[in-house]
Symmetry: C2
Subunit: 219 residues, 2 copies
């Protein structure tokens, strides 16, 4: 069974992924620059799970134990977070970018990433050459992931330029109930996925909801 | 009841919209530069409907009789099509852009619109100042619309800068069964919708299907 680590493991995005994967029987390690904060986040998650499934460790220990590493820091910190642990990233690590360059303004949710490209494509060149980046889970709200009482009933869109890495992420995501992984092609499809998340955030605002997420009908 | 006209009424996109709206009880007029081709397309649609609900007319006559005018030409011809009938567009016309800048290459479906902007935003400045442009139906495959035996089970994403026009299109779309219109904000959200259609086309190709379309869960 694959082991999943979360780089930036103390935020809401990490909590949601950790709870869903741990519930699906996957070993999950929350990583943080502070071992204490990681342990506290793991304890909070374990209280929700009712079982001590999550482990909280400092980032180097987390990376030592993990194969799939989710990048769950805020979007603007993603490149720095990768650079800070670059020397510890190596095969067979797969890094999964879930970040979305999104800000809220008076007019609603706004995309604030590069006009040409995506946050995922900005991050990719900062990884070691033999560590692939996969983009996934960008369109699923953290609050929905973190609420284990809500069935997901949606698709997780997965894209990346290294087929094997992408398939590993798809296989892991397929363990989560009520979630269908869809191979969405090369990493540059993250341009679309990041913008879809902005649309979902805007729909949430208009409808006073928090859980807007996508599913594809007809395939 | 609103009357719907289709500018570029002889193609598959027009056929799908015409069949769905006519089935919902809306008066639909197919427009073409050639009255004969418009009449033939209407006859073909009426044969499917089993009732003479569609009318086929030359574009000037179609525009005279229509309030909501769907632009159903191929994406690269949209600006020319608008320019050619610009003198006949006037209040209370609402123009609805359904085009998607999409090409198929060896690698799959590719977005080929402007890097900053969208086909919808390219078209808008060519309309008379008092005729609003709404973008809608971009993400629903024409082949699915044209197959009345397939329940849509999806959302239609509607965006535009003139609230009243957008609401009129939403009200019309709401007449179609199994289709939920969603207000997606200003016209620039078409950037996202057009790219989503490329994603759907790519998913179709991977899964050897034709009907990929989106619905939003959680709102």
């Amino acid at each position: 069974m694959v082991r999943i680590g979360l780089l930036g493991g103390t935020g809401i995005e990490a909590a949601g992924l950790a709870l869903r994967f741990a519930s699906a029987g996957v070993q999950v390690i929350l990583g943080s620059r502070s071992r204490e904060r990681a342990a506290a986040a793991a304890a909070a998650g374990n209280a929700i799970l009712g079982r001590p499934l999550l482990q909280g460790l400092a980032n180097p220990e987390m990376l030592e134990l993990s194969e799939i590493v989710f990048l769950t820091v805020p979007f603007a910190q993603a490149v720095d977070a990768v650079e800070q642990c670059r020397s510890l990233l190596r095969r067979p690590h797969i890094v999964v970018d879930v970040t979305v360059p999104l800000i809220f303004s008076a007019g609603g949710a706004e995309y604030c990433g590069p006009n040409i490209g995506s946050n995922a494509e900005n991050i990719a060149p900062h990884l070691p050459a033999d560590v692939p980046l996969v983009a996934a889970f960008k369109t699923i709200p953290a609050s929905v992931l973190a609420d284990l009482h809500t069935a997901l009933h949606c698709d997780v869109f997965v894209c990346g330029d290294v087929a094997g890495a992408k398939q590993s992420v798809i296989a892991a995501a397929a363990l989560i109930p009520s979630l269908r992984p869809l191979d969405c092609g090369p990493l540059r499809m993250a341009r679309t996925l990041e913008r879809m998340t902005v649309l979902a955030a805007d729909l949430n605002r208009r409808h006073r909801k928090k859980g807007a997420r996508f599913r594809v009908e007809g395939i």
